[in-house]
């Protein structure tokens, strides 16, 4: 899955929501700057998900506007300047909601795609 940096209206809500959820998840334990968020998602997905800057930064702005993250300039371990994003309490709640919604969705899709093997199905 590649998230394109085309115009904002061209992307679907599902993709929107998913990218937002991934970002929130990445910020779960500690604040991170934009580049690091992209790298983390990439690494944790075993290089499957490439989050382009053109999607990432608008998404961060979106989350900031909703009040789920706050941003603050700081320094990296390599003493470089960077803007760090931190999850707010509302952001944490949102992540919980998103996560459970995601699980439901994945299960539902799995039940359709693979009825026999999917977890939670009754034979």
């Amino acid at each position: 899955m590649t998230l394109h940096s085309s115009r904002a209206e061209a992307r679907t809500d599902l993709l929107h929501g998913t990218l937002d959820m991934l970002i929130l998840r990445t910020l779960r334990w500690r604040p991170q700057h934009g580049y690091a968020i992209g790298q983390t998602i990439r690494a944790q997905s075993s290089e499957v998900l490439q989050v382009e800057a053109g999607s990432l930064y608008p998404a961060l702005q979106r989350l900031a506007k909703k009040g789920w993250v706050t941003a603050k300039w700081g320094q990296t371990e390599a003493k470089q300047r960077a803007k760090f994003y931190r999850l707010t309490p509302e952001g944490k709640q949102q992540l919980v909601r998103e996560a459970s919604r995601w699980t439901e969705l994945v299960n539902a899709i799995a039940r359709i795609m693979n009825p026999a093997a999917a977890p939670g199905t009754k034979e």
Binding site: Y35, Y57, P58, K65
Partner: protein, 883 residues
């Protein structure tokens, strides 16, 4: 926390630095690291833009798109000013014509009564006889309906009347309305000063001598005197106390005349109005159920339909008829929408306005076809641009949207220009009508107002979008490869569409020209038609002796003495008086008439127009008498009752004119009269009316306070008018002259609607033809331009200029011919609908068709030859190098 662009750019720089540092750490050179980081990041501008968009509300976003579309449209239009100006001009003409017609239509049907909101939804109640004759409702009936008809939220009554204002030499005649007490309340009209009339002003006949003035009268005649309320003015020689001034916007409910006074209906008998009642005291006149006073009007109660109101009112009418049966002609109560009010101005005007609207729409159609053609041609010449846009990924919807926005950008100035045209044209029409009606004051609710503006903008945008959209779609359907590779850009479909547009314009303009030609020829025929009387050297001066307080005895004496003095004038060859003038244009009341020897069928309502005329009437008007004699001085109260009928009546009921003499007729409620003469038919109301039965009774055996003095003499009509006026003033200097004009003018008034439609249609015809010629020219010129290459080859191969011209003229004329043929067929089919509006020409009049055809083909010829000739002048070499 709004979007902070500097901070965001800073963040991106930081991102790039970190990415770069990581790559350097991985062993890349500084330079490579920089490039890789940039490349990986992607488009910084787009990202910044997308980030910013997260903060802007969606509507700002959409608005921004539109604004940039509009900006772009304006920019690209200014690059082709000829195109833009032509489209604006064509559309402006189409809009101007339609806004003008709509303004008139508004005055008749949409908001006929100025100063009253939703006036078009007023509903009129009247009595209708079994033969469909509309009668006024009597005052007692009105009172009953007003108190019992729950279908209406309020039912008022008003009757237009001419009254004399003031005393003595300064007195003048003006329009008043006698109104029920709830008139202003029902209409929702307020007083600008003092108070309006109230229900309490209608409590008893003759008891409330009050009057409300119009704002205009107060300013013109009373110098806007702030202390006017409470003063006494004289109307028909009766003192009336001014109760108030109406709202300046209100001009009465007559739709056409400017009403200047409002008097309680209960005062009408005291001012000399008897409503054809045979009773004599004010209270008995108003209690007379034979005397039709007015047609009550009101707004329906919310939630009530016209059908339900009709049913209820008819039921109430039936109750009335059962309780106290009245007239000899059975009638029922009817309710109709205001514009259908019998004898009302809208009902008279609407057929003409309908015709004008239809023709106006034809002009707009041509303008739109014109625009479609231009847009199409321009779209074709912009194929390169559109192809490039599509190639670099421009969405098709976005390109179409742009083309549509371009059309709207053109539509708005066109609407403004069109409105300007209408705003300048309408006053000309009003001034013309005012001149015809003088000295009567006219008020037409014909201003170019918000409603007209909305109409113009909607029509302009609608036409621009609809007619700009289809060709715009055509343009967007571009074969990328073909255009980019510069293969011939001429597709088959746009070519056919283009041809179809030329054909359509030619056809519609032919239709227009045939229509306007037919109406112009009708007008001409009507002008020269024989109205049945001699208009030249005839003068008519009207007075109403009740305006100076005469009773019947004094009135009779006045008219007798007037006739004596006028006849004694050596400049008069003959003189008479009459109640109605021929060619009156305005409908007159007809009367129920019994004919000896003819047994009317059950429920048949035998009612004809009639006139009350003095001695020598037929000699004075030069109306031929087929048999018998004219009225004479000896036909007075003491003599046997006599009448004269017209030829149509005599032939219809007694077989021949000669059989009529000695037979008897009886007007409703009168004694039998013996027929002493049969007169030739006259055009009584309109020049295009069918022959109709008519009865004349002698003035000396009847009476009516409002009469016209008609004099004939060798002097020019203007002199006759002045002499007649002088005779009246000599007898009574205080009597207002209602109107004084030579009868030659009568034709102008009678032909008013004819003239109006003929003039407007000729403007429409010329406009339509000019537009069609312009459109044809544009499309032919375009075809020629597209064929420059072909022309070059032809000429290089030895074709002469005339050969080239002939080839293109041939193409143009073929299209023109096809259009003309279609137009002819359409005209033959459609002008039949015009038949009622025509006079003296058949709907298939060869001359009108021939002229229209010649003009159209001539126009097409010019529009084709000019561009073709210009093409032929091209140098073959430069033509070949063209592509």
């Amino acid at each position: 926390m709004p979007f902070d662009q500097d901070d965001f750019e800073d963040e991106i720089r930081a991102h790039l630095e970190i990415a770069k540092a990581e790559r350097v750490a991985d062993g890349a050179t500084f330079r490579d690291a920089h490039q890789q980081a940039r490349k990986e990041f992607g488009n910084i501008t787009l990202t910044t833009e997308a980030a910013r968009r997260q903060w802007t509300p969606w509507w700002v976003d959409a608005l921004h798109d539109r604004v940039s579309d509009v900006r772009y449209a304006i920019r690209s239009l200014t690059k082709t000013p000829a195109f833009a100006l032509t489209v604006v001009g064509a559309l402006a003409l189409g809009i101007g014509v339609n806004a003008g017609v709509f303004t008139m239509l508004k005055a008749a049907a949409v908001s006929p009564i100025a100063g009253v909101s939703r006036s078009a939804s007023l509903v009129t109640v009247f009595r209708e006889t079994t033969s469909g004759r509309a009668l006024n409702v009597s005052y007692p009936e009105f009172q009953y309906l007003r108190d019992h008809d729950t279908a209406f939220s309020g039912l008022m009554g008003s009757v237009l009347a001419k009254v004399g204002l003031g005393r003595g030499r300064d007195s003048r005649s003006l329009f008043a309305e006698f109104v029920s007490g709830n008139y202003f309340e029902v209409l929702g009209v307020r007083a600008a000063r003092g108070r309006t009339l109230l229900p309490g002003d209608e409590s008893a006949p003759g008891r409330q001598p009050v009057v409300v003035l119009s704002d205009g009268l107060w300013r013109r005649d009373f110098g806007a005197d702030p202390a006017i309320v409470g003063t006494i003015i004289t109307v028909n020689n009766q003192p009336l106390t001014v109760a108030g001034i109406t709202d300046p916007a209100f001009h009465g409910t007559s739709v056409v005349y400017d009403v200047e006074l409002y008097v309680p209906i209960t005062m009408a008998p005291a001012l000399g109005f008897t409503f054809n009642s045979r009773e004599s005291t004010p209270s008995t006149i108003l209690a007379d159920r034979q005397a039709g006073v007015f047609m009550p009007q009101g707004f329906l109660r919310p939630g009530t339909t016209l059908a339900r109101a009709t049913a209820q009112t008819e039921a109430l009418g039936a109750v009335l008829a059962r309780e106290r049966p009245i007239s000899e002609s059975p009638a029922r109560m009817r309710t109709v929408a205001f514009w259908k009010t019998p004898g009302g101005a809208p009902a008279v005007l609407l057929p003409t306005l309908g015709l004008l609207s239809a023709m106006g729409l034809l002009v707009l159609t041509i303008a739109c076809a014109n625009i479609a053609g231009l847009v199409l041609v321009r779209g074709l010449s912009r194929r390169g641009e559109i192809a490039v846009r599509l190639a670099i990924g421009g969405a098709r919807t976005r390109i179409v949207r742009l083309l549509v926005v371009e059309n709207v950008v053109v539509a708005l100035p066109a609407a403004a220009l069109g409105l300007l045209l209408a705003a300048y044209g309408i006053p000309l029409v009003i001034a013309w009508v005012e001149r015809l009606a003088a000295p009567q004051r006219i008020f037409l609710n014909m201003q170019v107002d918000g409603l007209v503006m909305t109409f113009a903008v909607l029509v302009a945008c609608g036409s621009a979008i609809v007619f700009g959209f289809v060709p715009a779609l055509q343009s967007s359907r571009v074969d990328l490869a073909a255009v980019m590779n510069e293969v011939s850009p001429r597709g088959a479909t746009p070519g056919r569409l283009r041809a179809a547009l030329v054909v359509a314009q030619v056809a519609v303009s032919l239709l227009l020209l045939v229509g306007s030609g037919l109406v112009a020829r009708s007008l001409d025929a009507a002008r020269h038609a024989n109205p049945g009387f001699e208009m030249k050297h005839l003068a008519t001066v009207s007075v109403d002796v009740k305006q100076n307080g005469y009773d019947e005895a004094r009135g009779r004496l006045f008219y007798r003495r007037l006739l004596d003095t006028v006849r004694a004038d050596p400049g008069t060859s003959s003189a008479t008086v009459a109640a109605y003038a021929p060619l009156a244009f305005v409908d007159q009341p007809s009367r129920h008439i019994a004919i000896e020897g003819y047994e009317p069928k059950r429920d048949q309502d035998l009612a004809f127009l009639w006139n009350m005329v003095g001695p020598d009437y037929f000699r004075t008007l030069r109306i031929d008498l087929a048999v018998g004699r004219d009225f004479a001085d000896r036909d007075d109260e003491t003599a046997a009752r006599v009448a004269i009928v017209n030829r149509t009546l005599a032939e219809r009921f007694w077989g021949a004119a000669a059989n009529a003499i000695g037979r008897r007729v009886r007007l409703d409620g009168e004694d039998w009269r013996t027929v002493v003469g049969v007169a030739a038919d006259v055009k009584y109301i309109r020049i295009n009316e069918a022959p109709r039965p008519y009865v004349y009774v002698p003035f000396l055996q009847a009476y009516r306070p409002a009469m016209m003095l008609q004099t004939r003499g060798p002097a020019p009509s203007d002199v006759l008018v002045e002499r007649a006026r002088a005779h009246i003033t000599a007898l009574d200097g205080e009597l207002p002259i209602l109107s004084a004009r030579p009868d030659e003018d009568r034709m102008d008034g009678a032909l008013m609607l004819f003239t109006l439609s003929a003039r407007m249609l000729s403007v429409f015809g010329v406009t339509g033809m000019a537009l069609a010629a312009l459109g044809t020219y544009g499309l032919v010129a375009y075809t020629v331009k597209q064929s420059t290459h072909e022309i070059g080859i032809r000429m290089a191969l030895g074709a002469s200029r005339s050969n080239v011209v002939r080839a293109f003229v041939g193409r143009g004329l073929r299209l023109g011919g096809l259009g003309a043929a279609i137009g002819l067929v359409a005209a033959l089919a459609l002008t039949r609908l015009l038949a009622t509006a025509l006079f003296g020409v058949s709907a298939t009049d060869a001359r009108s068709f021939g002229t229209a055809l010649a003009i159209v083909l001539g126009g097409v010829m010019v529009a084709t030859v000019v561009p073709a000739w210009r093409a032929a002048r091209t140098n073959p070499l430069s033509a070949l190098r063209h592509q």
